[in-house]
Amino acid sequence: MLDFKLAPSQPEARPSDEVYDLIILGGGPAGLTAAIYAGRARIHTLVVVGPLPGGQPANTDMVENFPGFPEGIDGPDLARRFVAQAERFGVHLVHDTVTGVDLSVRPFVVRTDMATYRAHTLIIAMGAVPRRLGVPGEDRFFGRGVSACATCDGFFYRDKRVVVVGGGDSAVTEALYLTRFAREVILVHRRDQLRATQIHQERAFANPKMRFVWNSAVEEILGDKTVTGVRVRNLKTGETSVIEADGVFIYIGMEPQTELFRGQLELDEHGYIVTDRRQRTSVPGVYAAGDIQDPLYRQLVVAAGTGAVAAMEVEKYLEMYPQNNQEQQ
């Protein structure tokens, strides 16, 4: 029952005074696929890998829909392979957090937690993060009774009562995971039926520890020192009620990490970066790939595909503007 997972190698810090041909923001499937293509094209590339090297697969138990692995592949293992493959082709990786960009100057400026970098082109592939509810109590209790990671924190709710918010695949599968620990798992959903895949729904309805509160939205997370429950509003009747609980797990989908780019790049009404078929953004020389620009599919293989397109377009762009490319080297 004990398992031992291997992680991507830890990227080392790089000097920041050189100008790169390309900086890839994000080290998930889109960013690392772009890195593999850029490395093979011998483009001088830096990848700023975020808090989870390898991206969302590193947080996925088993990936069953990535071609080439008929039995499925362990998510962290796949993430590690992505990083190893990118490194093999000579790109530089740093582990850091992007805190800002300046797209109004050339070369572009990328500020991170620990450094400032410059490059002639950018590929933005920072993915999506779990959406928050945006209700009172959520921030105060985050990490202390409110969680977005059942596998991380489920253990702390042994024999307790937890609320799961959401109705999609993540909400239902994580709720089922929590039934291993919790006494009771109450799923609160805005609609009167689940959106989750049929097989997950069947498992959820058959589980004696699961309870469902339909047509309801969480309005507040209650508690003094610890979480004691949630206040929910029934969206049909307008009535509010309190559900007692020791913990709240939020699975209401993902949202793109684009706050840093607001005002500098065109975003759609949901905050996704607008791209064309060549993964170009509204700023020439800046490309985007993966979930950060994909409101529709958000699949690993699609993210990887858009990463490849972006890198090939960067190669063409740098060829078209060789003066940009060479003057600094």
């Binding site: 997972k5 590193a58 991380c152």
Partner: protein
């Protein structure tokens, strides 16, 4: 039955090839082994087999009290990962699941003896005058936790005044209660300052400075 399968063993051999210095894995268990003591001991022995620069030393927490005190070990299972010197890098509870990566990284880091931290962080750490104890609470199923553990261990390597523990919350539930751990990673600095989640380096350094002022 080995804990590490052939595939993992091969990968680990590659990762641990060319360690720049010797590493001692000093493990504490006891005669009637605690939950996961057996597996932790076995893990230490199996990893040590994969590199000729790594040695495993197994001590009894009761019989070898003096050794435990010398290394500041106060609970078991415990592993002190020691390089050319003892940097204060500790694992309490078995480093399984995602934490196996933290364990391998700690071995590589103490072997190198050079912290992978920014210049700004190193400047702050160089100015520390008081002892700092960092405890990072984790579960083996938490993908975000190794980042917090690795950063804490790098800080320990950077300063003789900093020691940093990974604490596996499921094996030390009383500590999880004591430090009000309801989510991981949760980092506790000098008993007073808390960090929820895997925070960026600059944020952790700011919290460390806050703890030193307290």
């Amino acid at each position: 039955m080995p804990l590490l399968n052939d595939e993992i063993r091969q990968e680990v051999s590659k990762i641990l090839a060319d360690l720049p210095g010797p590493v001692r894995l000093v493990m504490f268990t006891q005669e009637f082994e605690c939950e996961y003591c057996t597996e932790t001991r076995q893990l230490v022995e199996e990893v040590a087999e994969l590199s000729d620069r790594i040695t495993a030393e197994i001590y009894d927490f009761q019989a070898d009290r003096a050794k435990a005190e010398e290394l500041g070990i106060d609970k078991i299972p415990a592993i002190a990962v020691i390089g050319a010197q003892d940097y204060g890098v500790r694992f309490y509870g078995i480093p399984s699941g995602y934490e196996f990566a933290s364990f391998l990284h700690a071995i590589q880091s103490v072997a190198a003896g050079k912290p992978e931290l920014s210049d700004a962080t190193l400047r702050v750490v160089a100015g520390i005058q008081k002892p700092v104890h960092i405890q990072v609470f984790v579960t083996p199923t938490c993908p975000y936790c190794p980042q917090a553990v690795m950063l804490a261990h790098q800080l320990a390597i950077a300063s003789p005044l900093i020691r940093a523990d990974m604490v596996e919350a499921m094996e030390f539930p009383h500590l999880a209660v004591k430090y009000q751990v309801m989510g991981v990673p949760r980092t506790v600095i000098n008993e007073t300052v808390h960090i929820e989640g895997a925070a960026p380096e600059s944020h952790v350094v700011a919290k460390l400075q806050e703890a030193l002022k307290a």
